[in-house]
Amino acid sequence: MGKVFDTSRRGFLKGAGVTAAGFTLGFHVPFAGDAQAAVTPDEINAWVVVKPDETVIIRIARVDMGQGTLTGLAQLVAEELECDWSKVKTEYPTPGESLARNRVWGNFGTAGSRGIRDSQDYVRKGGAAARMMLVQAAATEWKVPASECKASKGIVTHPASGKSLSYGQLAMAASKLEAPKDVPLKDPKDWTLAGKPVKRLDTVEKLSGKLVYSIDMKMPGMLNAAIRDTPVLGGKVKSFNASKAEAMKGVKKVMQVGDSAVAVVADTWWRAKSALEAVEIVWDEGPNGAISNDQVKAMLKEGLTAEQAFVGNQAGDVKAALASAAKVVEATYHVPWQHHVTMEPMNATALWTSDKCEVWTATQNAEAALATAADAAGLPVAKCDVYRHALGGGFGRRATSHDFVRQAVLIAKAMPGTPVKLIWSREEDMMHGWYHPTTMAKLTAGLDANGNVTGMHMRISGQSILATVNPQGLQNGKDPATFQGLNPGGAEGAFGYTTIANLLIDHAMRNPPLKAGFWRGVNNNQNAFYLECFIDEVAHAAGQDPLAFRQKMLVNSPKHLAVLNAVAQKAGWGTPAPKGVYRGLAQHMGYGSYVAACAEVSVDDKGKLTIHRIVAATDCGHAVNPQQIAAQIEGSFAYGLSAALHSEITIKGGKVQEENFDTYPALRMEEMPKVESIVMPSGGFWGGVGEPTIFVAAPAVFNAIFAATGKRIRTLPLADQDLRKA
């Protein structure tokens, strides 16, 4: 396989166990084994298996981490398959099986809100092709043309003769047929199952405690491991004393893992964790041990005015426009590091022998997990496999890196033949994240005498995710993903305010020593916060209504405008709000979808904020399951507001200071606003839904706070910033 583990260009990451494998993966592995492994007789094709008892198994390559993709993808396959939805079950193939079959299931990566939009075409074709084969099998049996037969609810009928056969009866014959070459798909307007708000397929076992997450793995003879990795990025283990720990009950082994971690393996995890606390570790912290938050901020600040910067979007002559402006507005914003805090901490179970390595884990990209496992195992990919469990949250963490898989395999390798489950404590998890990057932005806008924006410069300074995760992906040093939502065009985030004739959006990359990762919404989050709060500032400076001001600037961006208008209308913008309640707006486009929100907040005399209501709209092109999209909108506000109100990771002496929910609080029900969603698919394109509405969470609320208090919050999180009226 292509070695993609070269970390040499990233001195600060060396030894941190970073693998770039499998971010955007492209698992370009020329597979050398059997071209076609045996398939079961009831498999119609890679996507569809029909059992004699009429159970339909739909294979899902992408993964469900709570966002409903499993159900959505099954709906799309079943729509074309014309099967009985009540008979549908799903199954995750393994990446090893996929490679053995020439990657028949395509990409396993589930990030960037791409689960459905990137695979909808071929999964629908999988369903349609299977239906065509089942129909053909019936037609052959009856010796009639296939065009005279109909398929519906898992039964093929021949209306002229009144004959019928079920999918279960036809599966064996259908599976022997050649796959059709020309596979037409339904027009989404003819959908009867896709596009409908059906319930999720995986709920009941989440209510009974029966769903087995990877942290729940049990295997005969399995041991448990707890680990402590260097608290400072790039640090190493100098020495450790295990004598106390080794004498503790249940302890089987104390070992160094790589050059930066120490693990204890015991019969139970609690005993392993307790013993780990008794291991005395001496660290070599390396140069990052001298770095604290103030230096990081100074580094970002310097970038705000630096000469050199990568250009993301440019039009006209911004310097001249600002020089000749009647009024200039300028503001500086800042977003700190944020942690994913998946509810289920990182964990993986590994079983290693000299010719095989198997891993059970929760991953957003099983192929990347496999690449990492094989590398750590020292075995060819073909001798390894990864079995997927339900994810107790992903949010990008389980797509960014499989460092926990690497560690689990290294530990298991030291105990050949014994399965070992590695669980990170919450503290270990929080201190070894791949954090939402920290950045600052300075925005400068010029207005003419009529309050029109004639020019705008947005300078972003700070961390690049790509520089951490996949430096090979940088384009002459530039990280194009930095400009999500600020691009001149394109599905991944088009800047809507194209009426600004003179524009410059650029990025001074500054990479402080903490790993950056993909965090739900990714760079769209801070870009939308910076831009939409600033546009609000400019509207007020121009003495104009924030809605009317945006409408004027979005005239060339009808889809951006449509979602904005939808939330304004539903929220009652322009009509009086309840007493003491104030409104704020934001809009943004990213991951293929157009989103907007209107927040309603109040702030009492003591400065206490209440977020009463959020009205949020999304135009995701085609909506596969409006009910699940509504759930994603609700959830994205909980996640986005949690960060906006509470989340900040800081470092002191190179060490992350926040270790658990007591120092890194999460939004709880008491603070959760009522979220009213507007799902308004306009058709003709496929946008994501797992992330986009998070973009507008912070700016809508902070603009409403300004309306309520006259205070402009330009730094996240809100935490204890004083909101009492100025």
Partner: protein, 152 residues
Amino acid sequence: MIKLNINGTLHELDVEPDTPLLWAIREHAGLTGTKYGCGVAQCGACTVHVDGVAMRSCSIPVGEFKPEQKIVTIEGLSPTVTHPIQKAWLELDVPQCGYCQSGQIMAAAALLQANPKPTDEQIRSEMTNICRCGTYNRIQAAIKLAATGMAG
């Protein structure tokens, strides 16, 4: 040996008295529906009932329990998964990733036990478990629904 009454069965477990109840339940009794989220009584993923009261099992050592105290975990709430809370959860499709939901359901069931007709304000202040997927709106609505006895 520590004796614990879990879901109506008396377990004799070879576990040190300072082990948190959570880990005795998960690793010694083998019931993994109760989840680990923080270990410091912050998140509620580990919520179980002890004599009908919701408790965060990660932060109580097993040595403090007497065999006659009745511990109920998510597995023991309803053998048919038809507790009014579970029915309401199903009807409103509450779970996303589901990881926090054992704890949410146990907390909600205890809340209804103590207060069969809670107001929205009471639900919002009583339900302090963390859900990172953000299912709070639906949890709130589902508790209201369960309180009406009309779910499912």
